[in-house]
Symmetry: C2
Subunit: 167 residues, 2 copies
């Protein structure tokens, strides 16, 4: 969205064309989802090269500032999509893809939905019995069912070893 550095950026260590496209697509997608575009590109890069990749190499291959890597790597880390790891004899931080990034992603989504549900409870259960209450209850029930559904999907993915990406 904001300040796209270049329509398509080619990293210093060239990637197969398909990989480069994939990375940009993940940037597009994450941006649509309300996250910084760089976070999406970073996640995309780690999906094609599961690392470990050093902090400064990330900045080079994505053509972004170190500040952006710092911010966005922390973001992905906090969501359980990537891991910060030590590499023997190296002072730099290294990152690799988390073990089940998509399972963790689903948990992040349902976590947010649960938070919204908590704020909705204030309206749902205020004691009064007005006409409009049925729509509010229906909304709450919809959230509840969606959360159940997504968590069931997460559970299924987690139990399947095919759900494991990365090492």
């Amino acid at each position: 969205m904001n300040q796209a550095p270049a329509p398509t950026s080619f990293p210093s260590r060239p990637l197969p064309e398909a990989h480069a496209i994939f990375i940009e697509r993940m940037g597009d997608h994450m941006e649509m989802e309300g996250m910084p575009r760089i976070a999406g590109r970073l996640f995309g890069l780690m999906l094609v090269d599961q690392g470990p990749i050093s902090f400064s190499e990330l900045a080079e291959r994505l053509n972004v500032s170190r500040g952006s890597i710092s911010t966005n790597a922390r973001l992905l880390e906090s969501q359980g999509l990537i891991l910060r790891v030590d590499v023997a004899g190296e002072r730099q931080d290294f990152f690799r893809l988390a073990d089940r990034p998509f399972v963790n992603m689903l948990h992040g989504i349902t976590g947010h939905m649960r938070e919204t549900m908590v704020t909705l409870e204030e309206c749902c259960f205020d004691g009064t019995q007005s006409q409009g209450m049925t729509g509010i209850r229906a909304t709450y029930d919809f959230f509840a069912e969606a959360v159940d559904n997504l968590e069931a999907l997460a559970k299924r993915l987690a139990e399947r070893n095919g759900g494991e990406i990365g090492r």
Copy 2:
């Protein structure tokens, strides 16, 4: 997000407190989802008062300009969340809640995901067999499974008459 007119706005025809809170919460939620805040508040209003409500009454009750109602009502209409209806002897447009707004909402979500999947196919199936391909395939498969899951949920909701909100 942008330019919130007031922390909490109370419509000209006062609503029960819980309804007013609910409307703002839906504004918050839709905003988080990347939609205009007014669209969320409008959807929230129609969930508690399923109408038909006239165009100008919507503007009054939400304390926003007619231009905003025009834009956002069209948006919700395009997503199948509300319906524009005729009211006998009235020149104004009226709106009511769609019959299964949440089912339609799910279809909108899966529609977007399918579009993303199409763009991913370009990278997935380019013939080459590089190492990073497994991550790309895993991403694609995750999307496919999530779409199946959400569409199954939509189908279940649609088949249940409890899924019907509005008249």
